[in-house]
């Protein structure tokens, strides 16, 4: 796509977890992926296939067994504040208020500068008035916003998001997706976004990485060349969605395509 060097290069990446007693469990198998600057990548795959594991390695929390991840050409060896991880079910600190949470990663020389940054992001995520509130006093969606703001406030260039909207109710999720796209437009971060929600991936991504069952490898990378916001009944949108369902081995009705069944309607993909 772009001529410049890719922002993130995942090269021949494999990971085996040591199993107690038995032979090691292979979780990731020879994964290759390259992501350009400012790209929004969604990673979908069956649950338990290794999506979180992949993201954890890319962020430097885990070491791979083989291969490497390079960011700006430099191998990732440890976590770095220039790329921030956003956790499934939020990891806001329950002992800090909203503004303290958002200010947690800040390193400006003056307190005034920090406070201004915090205020800017509180407004961006629509939590003005909740500066002094504690996570326990907020809803799940609000806490997820706080975590996103905490990540953005330290101005990273990469965001790793591990099913950040997975625990939210349907309507909150829709709203958060739209807001996320808006934020991404303004801030131009490179985003690796894991989800198990195929619709979510088609709505958000520039490209969708479909992973196989464990040991996970990249099954397909599907570009989504649709203008945002994406209409849920656009034929191209539906085609891409069905293609992903098909790749994941599930038909329109949520049935398993591998399972023997006589009344099975195969989607007419390909």
């Amino acid at each position: 796509m772009s001529v410049a060097r890719p922002k993130i290069e995942i090269e021949n990446l494999s990971l085996d977890f040591a199993a107690d007693g038995g032979s090691p469990i292979s979780v990731l198998h020879e994964i290759d992926l390259s992501v350009s600057e400012g790209e929004f990548i969604c990673i979908v795959g069956p649950s338990g296939c290794g999506k979180s594991t992949l993201l954890n390695i890319a962020c430097g929390f885990l070491e791979p067994t083989h291969g490497q991840v390079r960011i700006d050409g430099v191998p990732v060896e440890r976590p770095d504040r220039r790329r921030v991880f956003i956790f499934q079910n939020t990891a806001v600190f329950p002992w800090l208020s909203v503004e303290q949470n958002i200010g947690f990663g800040l390193r400006s020389s003056t307190a005034d500068e920090n406070a201004a940054t915090v205020q800017r992001y509180i407004e961006m995520i629509g939590l003005a008035g909740f500066e002094k509130a504690y996570p326990r006093e907020l809803s799940g969606g609000m806490n997820q916003r706080v975590e996103i703001a905490r990540a953005l406030a330290s101005n990273p260039d990469v965001l790793f998001m591990d099913e950040p909207l997975g625990a939210l109710d349907y309507l909150t999720r829709l709203k958060m997706r739209a807001d996320l796209i808006e934020i991404w437009r303004q801030e131009r971060k490179t985003i690796l976004f894991v989800t198990h929600d195929v619709d979510e991936s088609v709505q958000l991504a520039d490209r969708i990485v479909v992973m196989s069952k464990r040991p996970a490898s990249v099954k397909a990378v599907i570009p989504v060349d649709l203008p945002r916001p994406r209409s849920l009944d656009d034929p191209e949108y539906l085609r891409i969605r069905d293609e992903i369902f098909h790749l994941m081995g599930i038909d329109h009705f949520g049935r398993n395509e591998d399972a023997p069944s006589d009344s099975r309607a195969r989607p007419s993909a390909e």
Binding site: C59, F61, R78, P79, D80, R81, V84, F85, F87, N89, T90, A91, F93, P94, W95, L96, F104, G105, Y134, P135, R136, E137, N143, S154
Partner: protein
């Protein structure tokens, strides 16, 4: 409604016990197991004498010192054992070895250790030492398991923002472990209070444990039971004070887990 019922039921339980106590001790004098009325009049005698308040202060003073020293030593030790692999390997076997020894078993050693001390009343020091021993192990254990139980994602957030060392300790580890540490402290204070009485039964010349021993030597069993009642009440006061500290420290944040 619910609370009234709870209160009345609790009262009924105590009332039932007092009734059985009264029936079982019917007609007993001061040199037998005293009944509730005798115990109450003993309590009145104790309060009149004026010694009671001095003894309460002496006992609470010893517990506070022993407990405070145990907190100062036990929390950092427990955090270190929970956090660092080599500190755990170094100290955990020792802690496990010392933990099963009842603090009371240390009494002769404590008397030897502090017997020659000039700058303070030696018997006071040995009682404080026993309290210290009684509370430090539950504190270490609570702090250790609090650190081990910290959700890894909080630590990851901290390393993600490149926070380490002392900042990590004070901004993440300590606050994350705080609820469990406070629960452990409350438990340890309860144990300390229980052990105090035994610690005061030998060597010291004041305190509620001494009162019990002294009254027994004078064959005033009504005063023995009266002192037992005082011990119970002070114990409840200490526990609710700890509970207040606990809930005010955690008031807004709720539990660490979501």
């Amino acid at each position: 409604m619910r609370r009234v019922r709870k209160f009345l039921l609790g009262l009924a339980g105590i009332g039932l016990f007092v009734l059985c106590w009264q029936l079982a001790t019917w007609g007993n004098g001061r040199t037998d197991v005293p009944g509730p009325w005798l115990a109450l009049s003993g309590l009145r005698d104790l309060a009149r004498e004026g010694l009671l308040w001095r003894y309460i202060i002496a006992s609470v003073f010893r517990v506070m010192w022993g407990f405070a020293l145990a907190v100062l030593a036990g929390v950092p030790l427990g955090l270190a054992i929970g956090w660092s692999g080599w500190v755990r390997d170094l100290l955990n076997p020792l802690v496990q070895l010392l933990r099963p020894i009842s603090p009371i078993a240390w009494l002769p050693i404590a008397v030897l250790m502090f017997g020659g001390v000039r700058w303070w009343e030696p018997s006071d020091l040995s009682a404080i030492f026993l309290i210290f021993l009684a509370s430090i192990f539950p504190i270490i254990t609570a702090a250790t398991s609090a650190v081990e139980g910290i959700d890894a994602k909080y630590l990851r957030v901290a390393t993600n923002f490149e926070i380490g060392g002392m900042a990590m300790l004070f901004q993440v580890i300590l606050p994350a472990a705080l609820p469990q540490i406070l629960t452990g402290l409350r438990l340890a204070l309860g144990i300390a209070w229980v052990v105090l009485v035994a610690a005061e039964m030998l060597g010291v010349q004041s305190g509620l444990g001494f009162q019990i021993n002294d009254s027994r030597n004078n064959l005033r069993y009504d005063l023995v039971v009266a002192a037992m009642i005082v011990i119970s009440i002070i114990g409840i006061c200490l526990d609710s004070a700890m509970a207040r500290i606990e809930s005010s420290a955690l008031s807004r944040r709720g539990t660490a887990k979501r």
